[in-house]
Symmetry: D2
Subunit: 354 residues, 4 copies
C-alpha cells in the first residue's frame, strides 16, 4: 500500500521530524511539503541532515497543493490548523493535526485557554484523540471511518500531555489517586520552536534552567481532560539546555485507602500490566528513573515510579522525545492505526545509546 | 583585619569555589588548602583558571596543618566533617562546615537519613545554621561567641535547601500555607561532585534530564527542618546538562483562608518586605521567572512567584548557583557575619550577563 | 542470509553503536556481545536506549564465546585486538577490527607510534583497509577471500583519518597538492571514550575547547599512509563540548601549477565526480560548509571546499559522526561489502534534522 | 579619580560585558548606556544577572547623550563606529572603539575587506592599536595625548586577532618563522552576536561544530597586519557549542635555520621572557595545552606550545574569552593605560574554576 501524504508546516521542528520519519516509512509516501515562508527552498538546504534523503522542495500552503493526498499531517500553530481542516476532510483527506485545535472536547474550554472562538466546533466530537496507548477506541473508530470511505480526523496529543499522562494515567485509572495532581516538567529547546528569538538564542538558553508559563500554560486543560481531573492539575513547564526531550515528574497523592497501604511493587505491576501490549512504553525497574537521553530520536516513553518518604504520594516520571513521541512520531503512530498498519511501522529505531 | 584561613577538601568543587572567593576577599587569607589525594599538587595545576591567582599547593588533611588558623572551611563529605570539628573547635578555630553533619538539630533524624551515629551530638545545639537570610539570630549568636573568644561553629545550609527555603519561607512564615509542600528542583552537574563517574561523564549527562533520589534524598529532612514542616515535604531532585545552578520550583498549597483570597501582588509585597534588607535575594517582578544562568558564579538568589490557575496554590521558584550561594558563597557570607564584617564582603561580583 | 555475529568490547561507545546498528540490520544477527568488566549485565541496563530492542547480556571475552560466529567486530583498544585476531581467523571467523592494530602496513611504524612490538605482522598485508570510498579494491579482495571460504580481516580506519582523508584525498589524488598538509580537527567527547576520567567529566569538558595530543597523536601516521604523505602531515585534534561528531579542516597547499590557476568550481567538480558512486559522501555546494550536527547518528560524510584568500591553498572540511562513519558504521559498511551485501544495508537512516 | 564614561551599543554582548566590568571598576563610572532598539529599557530587565548591580536604563544613541563623558566605549558594528568617532573626539572625549573601523592602518585594505569607503581615514594614524601586550608604545602615545589634554582614540583588537597574535607573535618577532601561517580557530556562540538568527538558535548551534567564513573572514587582514605577514595568513574560524571562548591554533613553519634546531624549551623560554611583564598572559608548562573554560569571564590569555612530529613547525595555541580579553576586557585594559591607571585595574577576577 502506498499512502499519498502531505505535510503542512513542514519546515518547523515537528514538521521536519515528520519528513524524517515518513522518509523511512514503507507505506506513507510524502509528495508535498509546505511552508509559506520557505516556498521554493529544497528541504535539504534548510536541514542538511536530509541531504541525500529527500528531493522535496517546500511549497506554498493551500488545499490545492494537497489534492490527491490520502493523508495530511498538519504541523502548524493552533488556529492555523482549524482554518484548513474542514476543507481537507471535505476533500476526503484524512487529517493528523499536531496542533491543539481539536484536542479539547469543549469549545468553551478552548476559547478560555486559546482566546479564540473555535471555527469548527462540530468537528470536535469527530476528532479522535491521538494518544494511542490511552485512547485506542477513539483511534479504532477513526480507522473504521476511514475504512468505510470517510476521511478521519485525529487530534494528536501535545508533548507535555503525552509524557505526563502516560506516567500518570494507570494510577488514576486504577483509583489510587485523590487530590490535586502536580506536574513539573522540563523540556528541551526544540519545544520552544524553530523561530529565532531571545529565548531560543543559544547564549540565553545554554547553561540555564528556567520555569515559564507558570499557572498559565495551555497544556493544563489538555492534561486535565486526558486524566479526567478538571481543575485539579497544577502544571509547571521548564526549559533546559538540550535539544530534544521532555521529562515530566508527576506528583499523585494516594487516596486514604491506598496511602501507606499499596506497595510500590504492586503499583509497578499495575503499570506493567496496563502497558503490556504497548510497544513504545517501558515501565522501568524500581530504583531506576528515566533519562530523556535514552528516548531522544525514538518514539519510546520510559516511566519510572517511586513513593514519597511518607508513602502517601506516588511520583511517576515520564520521559519522551518531545518531537517524536510528543509530536511527529505519535502522529505517525496514529496514522499507522488509522490506515490499518501495525502501529509501530516506521517507528522502531531506538534512540542513540550515547 | 587579616583572618588566617584554611580550607579542608579544597580540591572538590565547593572547595575550589572557596579558594576562588577567598582569593578575592580583603580579609580572609587562605594559608592552607588540603586534599588527601592531591597533596603536593599546586592548586593551579588542577584548576588552571586560578593560574596566576594562587600559589597554594594542596596539603594532606590533618588538624596540624591547620594550626594557627582563625577560621577553617570544611568542604568534605558528611561524617568526614564531624571527625574533625571537635578538635578544630578545641584548638580555638572557628569552623564553617559545608557538609550535612551539623545541620540537623536532632541526632536521631541524622542517623535515620545518613545511616550513621552522630559522633558529636553535643555540638548540634552549638552549631549555628548557616542560611543568613533565615537564621540571622543563630549567626549573631555565633558572632558573639567568637567575639567573646570562643570558636564558632556554623553548619552551612545545603544547596537544594537554600534555593528551596529562600523561595518558600516567607509564605510559610506568614501563615499562608497549609498542606504538603512539593519541591521539584533541578541541579547542574557540579552538584554531582568532582568524582568522575558514569553519572558525571559528559556523554551521559549531556543532552539529557533525569530525576534521582526520588523519595529518598537527604536534603528532605533539612528542608523540613528549615521550613518547620516535619514530614510534610516531598522533594525530587533532577540533573540537567549545565555546570552550575539550581532551580527549585516549590508548590505551596494556600490555606483555606488565603486560597483565592490573597492576591499574588500581596504575596509579592510580603516577599519584598521580608527580604528588604537582604542584599543577595531579589524578588522578581510578577510575570518574570528566574533563570539559573542569571545567578551563576554569584551569591545571588532570584525568586519568582505565581499562582496556580485555580488560585489555591503558590508556586515559588528560586534560582541560585549551587556552588556559590548553595555552598561556598554562603559559607563566606556566614564567615563574614561571624567575623564582624559586612555580610557582602568579597561577594559582590554579579553573574556573567551572558 | 543470516550472518552470525559477535561484538567484542560491546560496552564501549563504538561497541554499543555496533549493537545499535546491527540490531536494525536485516542480515547480521548479533548473538554474542562481550565485555570483561560488565559480564552478566544486560545491555539495556547499561544503555537504556536499547531497552526493548535487545535482550543481549554482556559475556566474558574469549574466542570460545565467539565460536560459531561468521563475523566478529572488535571494538577493543589497540594491542587487545591483535591478541585475538589470529585465533579468530584460524577459527574461520571474519574479523572487522576497529582498533589501530592492523591499519599501519609497516610494523616498524606501528612500533614507533604505539610503543609495542606487533605480534602478528604477517597479517598486516592480509588486512584490508576499511575505508571503502578510498580502498574499494582492498575490500573487494577481502570479499573474494571470504567468498572463497577463507576468513577476511578488515582494519577499519580511525575516526580522524576517515573525516580527514575523505576531505583531502580527491585533491591529492588529482595531483593538486604540494607541501605539508595541516589537519586541524575537532571531536565530540564520545571520542575520548566511555571511561570516566577528569577529561570526560561533564563539568570539565562542558563550556570549553582544548587541543590535545599536539604533534604526537597516533592518527598522524595513519593519515599519512592513507594520503601517501609520509612525514608531511601535521595533525592537531581538539575536544569540544558535544557528544558525537568530528569536523576536520584540512589545509592543502596547491602545487605551483594549480595555485591561482585551478578554480574552486573545477575542484568541486573533481570531488563530485570522485564520489559519484559513494552513497555516504556529499560534496556540499560551494559557499556551504558542513556541520557535524547534520551527520550525527548517520553514516554520512559531508565535505565543504574553499580556497584561501590568496588562492594558493585548498581548505577541505569533512564532517562525520566519529562513532558511526568514524567507527561502527564504517565497520558495518565494510562488513556489508565483505559479505556481498549492498554497502548501504542497515545504514540508510539520516541524522536527526534538529 | 572618577572617569565619566559612556557605552554605546551597550545592549549587545560586548557592550553588556563592558557594563559588567566597569560596574566593578573603581575609577570608570558609567553614566550613559545607549541602545537604539532598547531605549527606555532598564539594563537589568534585559540582563537579569545585573539586577541589583546597576540602575542604568538604555538611552538612544547620539553624541548629545554622551556630553560630559571623559571616555566612551563603542560597541557597535563597523561603519557605525566611524560615523561617531570624529564628533566624539572633537568633543574632547577619548574613544575606545571595539569595532574594526580604525584597526587597519591602510584605508585601501579596509575598503577591500569591508566593502566600504572609510569616512575618516585621517584618524587611522592617530588610532592606537588596542592590544597592550604587543602595542604598548602606541597606547603610551595615546596616554600622553590624553595627558596633554587631547582626546585619545584606541582601536581595540578583534577577538580572533587577539588570541591568534598573542600565541604567534613572540615566535615571529624572534625570527623563527618563515612561510604561510595557518590559523585555525574556534569560537563560542557569543562571537556570533546577540541577534537571534538561525545560526544562533540553540537547536542549530548545539551539538554541532562548523567552519564559516572560510577564506573570507575579515579578521584575516587584521591578523596579517599585527604579525607583519601581509598575504601570508590563512585563517579559518569555527563555531562550537559554548557561550564564551576562543581557542586559536596557529601553525608557524620554522625557518630553515630553526627547524629541528631550536628546541621547544628554548621557544617556551622566549615566550616566557616576552610576556614576563604581562599580567594577563600565561605561557603554560610544556605538555599542557590551554582550555577556553579556564579563561572564560576573565581577561587572561593562556598559551600552549608544541612542535610538530617532524620538528619543523611550531604549534602555538592561544585561549581567551572572546567577550573579555577579546573585546570588553581588552578595551578596559586599554582605557586603564590611557587614563594612567594600572593596566589590571578592575580586571583581576579569575575565571570560574569549574
Amino acid at each position: 500500500m502506498t499512502i499519498k501524504t502531505g505535510i503542512v508546516g513542514a519546515a518547523g521542528f515537528a514538521g521536519i521530524e515528520l519528513v524524517r520519519l515518513l522518509g523511512e516509512h514503507p507505506s506513507f509516501e510524502v509528495g508535498v511539503v509546505t511552508s509559506d515562508s520557505l516556498a521554493g527552498t529544497p528541504v535539504s538546504d534548510l536541514y542538511p541532515a536530509l541531504d541525500g534523503h529527500t528531493d522535496l522542495v517546500f511549497e506554498k500552503h493551500g488545499v490545492d497543493a494537497l489534492e490527491g493526498c490520502d493523508a495530511v499531517f498538519l504541523a502548524v500553530p493552533h488556529t492555523a490548523a482549524m482554518s484548513q481542516v474542514p476543507a481537507l476532510l471535505e476533500a476526503g483527506i484524512s487529517v493528523f493535526d499536531l496542533s491543539a485545535d481539536y484536542r479539547l472536547k469543549d469549545a468553551a474550554v478552548y476559547k478560555r485557554w486559546y482566546a479564540t472562538e473555535h471555527t469548527s466546533p462540530e468537528l470536535l466530537e469527530k476528532a479522535a484523540f491521538g494518544l494511542p496507548e490511552l485512547f485506542a477506541s477513539e483511534l479504532a473508530r477513526a480507522a473504521a471511518e476511514r475504512e468505510a470511505g470517510a476521511a478521519a480526523l485525529v487530534a494528536c496529543a501535545g508533548c507535555y500531555p503525552t509524557a505526563t499522562s502516560l506516567a500518570a494515567y494507570p494510577a488514576i485509572h486504577a483509583g489510587l489517586v485523590d487530590g490535586t495532581v502536580i506536574v513539573d516538567a522540563v523540556s528541551g529547546v526544540t519545544g520552544a520552536g524553530k523561530k529565532a528569538t531571545e529565548r531560543t538564542h543559544f547564549c540565553f538558553a545554554n547553561e540555564s534552567i528556567e520555569a515559564y508559563g507558570v499557572g498559565t500554560h495551555r497544556h493544563t486543560p489538555e492534561i486535565e481532560q486526558i486524566l479526567g481531573l478538571e481543575g485539579k492539575v497544577v502544571f509547571t513547564p521548564h526549559l533546559a539546555p538540550l535539544n530534544r526531550g521532555i521529562l515530566s515528574t508527576v506528583y499523585l497523592p494516594l487516596s486514604a485507602e491506598h496511602a501507606g497501604e499499596t506497595s510500590l511493587e504492586a503499583i509497578r505491576d499495575l503499570y506493567t500490566e496496563f502497558y503490556a501490549e504497548d510497544a513504545f512504553v517501558r515501565v522501568l525497574p524500581l530504583g531506576t528513573m528515566p533519562k530523556t537521553g535514552s528516548v531522544a530520536g525514538s518514539n519510546a516513553c520510559h516511566i519510572g515510579l517511586a513513593l514519597s518518604a511518607a508513602g502517601d504520594m506516588l511520583i511517576a516520571v515520564g520521559a519522551i522525545d518531545n518531537l517524536c513521541k510528543g509530536a511527529a512520531g505519535q502522529a505517525v503512530q496514529c496514522a499507522n492505526i488509522v490506515f490499518g498498519l501495525p502501529e509501530t511501522t516506521g517507528l522502531t529505531a531506538p534512540a542513540l545509546p550515547v
